[in-house]
C-alpha cells in the first residue's frame, strides 16, 4: 500500500534541483577560496623566507650565525651573528612583559571581579583604545616623552635606549593581556565564585584563590601571546631604542631588535640578491620561528583551559 503511494508521487518533483545545487556549490567554492587565502599567504611567506635563507646559509654557516657576537652585515668586514639582535629583542620584550603582566593581570582582576557593570562599560573601551593607537605614535611617545622623563632620573641614559622602548611597549601590550585574561576569568563559572563566597571568602580571596587559578591556563596563554606581540613589535623599538646591534642585557644601553634591523635594511638601498639583502630573511626566519613557538604554546594553553570545566 505505502509502496503504491510512493510510486504515485511524480518523480519529477523528487529529482535534484540543478540550479539550487549549483548555487550551493558556487558559494562553497567562494567560501573555500576566502578561507584558503590565509593559509596560502602563510605558506608563501614561509616558502620565500626559507628560499632566501637557503642562499644565505650557503654563504654563512648556521653555527656562525648562531654564535658570532657581532652583527655588522652592512660593514666592509661583515659579521653575521644573530645574538646581538636576539639580545635586543629579549631585553625589550622582557621589560615590556615586566610592565604588561602585572598591569594587565591587575586590570583584568579588577574588571572581571570588582568593577560593576557600568564602570566596566566605561573602562574597557578606554583600555581597548590603547590597542588602537598606531605603534609609531607609541614610538615617538617613548622617544620624545618617556626618554626625557627617564633622563631626569638617570642622567646618564642615552637618547636612544631599550628601557624606554620596552616600557612603552609594555603599555601597548597591557590591554592585550588584560583583555584576554579578563575573558578567561569571566569564563570561570559563577558556581565556583558562589562556592567560595558561601565559604565566607571575601571578593579578593575569591578572585585570587579560586578565580585566578581556575583561569590560569587562559591567563598564561595571554602572557605568551603578549610576549609574542612584544617580540614581533617593530616601530617602537625602531624609533626609540636606536639601531645599534649590541650584545648586552643592559636596558640602559642602545640596542637593535630583529624587527628594527629588518626595517632598517628594507628601507635602505640594498641590492636584491646580495648577501646583505638575504640577511633580512635570515633575521625574519628567526623571528617567525620565535613567534611561532610562542603562539603554539599560547594556543595549547588556551585550548587546555577550555577543557577544565
Amino acid at each position: 500500500m505505502t509502496q503504491q503511494v510512493f510510486s504515485s508521487v511524480s518523480t519529477k518533483k523528487l529529482s535534484p534541483k540543478l540550479i539550487r545545487n549549483l548555487k550551493e556549490k558556487a558559494i562553497e567554492i567562494v567560501l573555500f577560496i576566502a578561507a584558503s587565502t590565509s593559509v596560502a599567504t602563510t605558506l608563501a611567506i614561509m616558502f620565500i623566507l626559507l628560499e632566501e635563507c637557503w642562499f644565505f646559509f650557503q654563504e654563512v654557516s648556521i653555527f656562525k650565525f648562531l654564535t658570532d657576537t657581532e652583527w655588522t652585515p652592512l660593514f666592509a668586514n661583515p659579521r653575521y651573528g644573530i645574538l646581538p639582535l636576539l639580545s635586543g629583542t629579549i631585553v625589550t620584550s622582557a621589560i615590556a612583559l615586566f610592565v604588561a603582566i602585572p598591569c594587565g593581570t591587575i586590570a583584568a582582576i579588577y574588571l572581571s571581579e570588582f568593577a560593576d557593570s557600568k564602570l566596566r562599560e566605561i573602562v574597557k573601551p578606554f583600555l581597548e583604545l590603547l590597542a588602537a593607537i598606531p605603534t609609531v605614535v607609541y614610538g615617538y611617545f617613548a622617544l620624545l616623552f618617556v626618554t626625557p622623563f627617564l633622563q631626569k632620573i638617570f642622567p646618564e641614559l642615552p637618547g636612544f635606549n631599550m628601557l624606554s622602548a620596552g616600557l612603552v611597549m609594555g603599555l601597548m601590550i597591557t590591554p592585550f593581556v588584560s583583555s584576554l585574561s579578563e575573558d578567561a576569568m569571566r569564563a570561570v563559572p559563577a558556581l565556583l565564585r558562589e562556592g567560595s563566597t558561601a565559604m565566607g571568602a571575601t571578593k579578593l580571596q575569591t578572585a585570587l584563590r579560586v578565580v585566578f587559578p581556575s583561569a590560569i591556563s587562559g591567563i598564561s596563554s595571554s602572557y605568551i601571546l603578549g610576549a609574542s606581540r612584544a617580540v614581533g613589535e617593530t616601530m617602537i623599538v625602531a624609533v626609540a631604542a636606536g639601531l645599534q646591534p649590541n650584545l648586552t642585557l643592559n636596558p640602559f644601553s642602545q640596542g637593535a631588535t630583529i624587527t628594527a634591523f629588518i626595517v632598517q635594511v628594507s628601507l635602505g638601498d640594498v641590492a636584491r640578491g646580495t648577501i646583505e639583502y638575504q640577511t633580512i630573511f635570515a633575521a625574519g626566519l628567526t623571528l617567525v620561528l620565535m613567534t611561532l613557538v610562542l603562539n603554539i604554546i599560547g594556543y595549547y594553553l588556551a585550548k587546555r583551559f577550555r577543557e577544565i570545566y
Binding site: 560593576d116 565564585r193 567560595s196 558561601a198 565559604m199 565566607g200 571575601t202 584563590r209 579560586v210 577544565i308
Partner: protein, 261 residues
C-alpha cells in the same frame, strides 16, 4: 495558619524567619514568610519551579548580596540576631551557615586544599590543625576512606558523587550550625543520590539541615519537617509525615498529588 504553626512548634528553633520579604530589583520573590527552623533536624523546602524555595534558602547565607539590586525585608533570627541586618557582616554569617550547591563545585585545587579552604581563608595555616579538621570533615562526609590516600590529587579526579561529598566536607569544616543544601542530588545518578541522602540523614546529629529539593520522594524519605512554598509564599509548614499524609491546605494537597507544579 497561626494555629497550625503553633501546633508544629514542639521543637527548639535554631533560626526564626520573621516577616521575610525578598525582592530581585522589582520582582517580589519571597512574600511575608514566617517559620522556625528546628535544631538538628532536616527541614525540606518543596514547591514547584520558581516558587522561591532556592531564593529563600539563599537568604540564609546572604548569597543575594553578591548581585546588585537585591533587597531583603524582615528578618532571619539566629540566636536572636537578625542576620539580614545591614550591620551584620555577611562573611561572619557564612562562617556559621554554609552551603552545598546543586552541582558539585570543587575548586581547582587538591582534595585536601578544597576541604581546607574555609580554614585557610580565615588565616589558619597550622598543618596539624588543618590535618585534623580536614580529616574530621572528610569522615563526616563519608569520603575519608576513598580519599585518604589521594589527598594531594586534584579534586577533578573524583567522580560526581564523590565531588559532591567533597563539597559537603568543605561546608562542614568550619563547624557551622546550619548547612544549606540546594538540590544537592539533582546532578547525580541514583546510586550517588542514595549515598548523599544517607550522609545527610546521619549529619543531622551534628548540624541543622535546610534542604531545597525538587523530589517529593526525597523530602518524604529523610526530612523531619517540610515547608511547602508556592508563588513566593509559604503555604504550609509541618512535620513531614503530617504534610504528606494529611496536609491542611488544599494547594499542598494539589501539589503533592501532581495537580499543580
Amino acid at each position: 495558619m497561626v494555629e497550625q504553626l503553633e501546633k508544629a512548634i514542639d521543637f527548639q528553633p535554631v533560626a526564626e524567619v520573621k516577616h521575610l520579604d525578598f525582592y530581585y530589583s522589582g520582582f517580589h520573590a519571597i512574600k511575608n514568610v514566617n517559620f522556625d527552623i528546628p535544631e538538628k533536624k532536616v527541614t525540606a523546602l518543596i514547591g514547584p519551579s520558581g516558587c522561591g524555595k532556592t531564593t529563600l534558602l539563599r537568604c540564609f547565607n546572604r548569597m543575594h548580596d553578591l548581585y546588585p539590586g537585591n533587597r531583603y525585608q524582615g528578618g532571619i533570627l539566629v540566636n536572636g540576631v537578625n542576620i539580614l541586618a545591614k550591620e551584620v557582616d555577611p562573611i561572619e554569617v557564612r562562617m556559621r551557615i554554609s552551603m552545598v550547591f546543586q552541582k558539585p563545585n570543587p575548586f581547582p585545587k587538591s582534595i585536601f586544599e578544597n576541604v581546607a579552604y574555609g580554614l585557610r581563608i580565615r588565616g589558619e595555616n597550622s598543618r596539624t590543625v588543618l590535618d585534623e579538621k580536614v580529616e574530621d570533615a572528610l569522615k563526616s562526609a563519608a569520603l575519608w576512606e576513598e580519599a585518604k590516600d589521594r589527598l594531594n590529587q586534584s579534586a577533578y579526579d573524583l567522580s560526581g558523587g564523590q565531588q559532591q561529598r567533597l563539597c559537603i566536607a568543605r561546608a562542614l569544616v568550619t563547624e557551622p550550625e546550619i548547612v544549606l543544601f540546594d538540590e544537592p542530588t539533582s546532578a547525580l545518578d541514583p546510586i550517588a543520590t542514595n549515598s548523599i541522602e544517607e550522609l545527610m540523614s546521619g549529619l543531622k546529629q551534628k548540624v541543622t539541615i535546610l534542604i531545597v529539593t525538587h523530589s517529593m520522594q526525597q523530602a518524604a524519605r529523610f526530612s523531619d519537617y517540610t515547608a511547602f512554598m508556592y508563588m513566593g509564599e509559604l503555604i504550609e509548614f509541618d512535620k513531614t509525615e503530617t504534610i504528606f499524609s494529611q496536609p491542611a491546605q488544599k494547594r499542598t494537597q494539589d501539589y503533592l498529588s501532581g495537580r499543580i507544579g
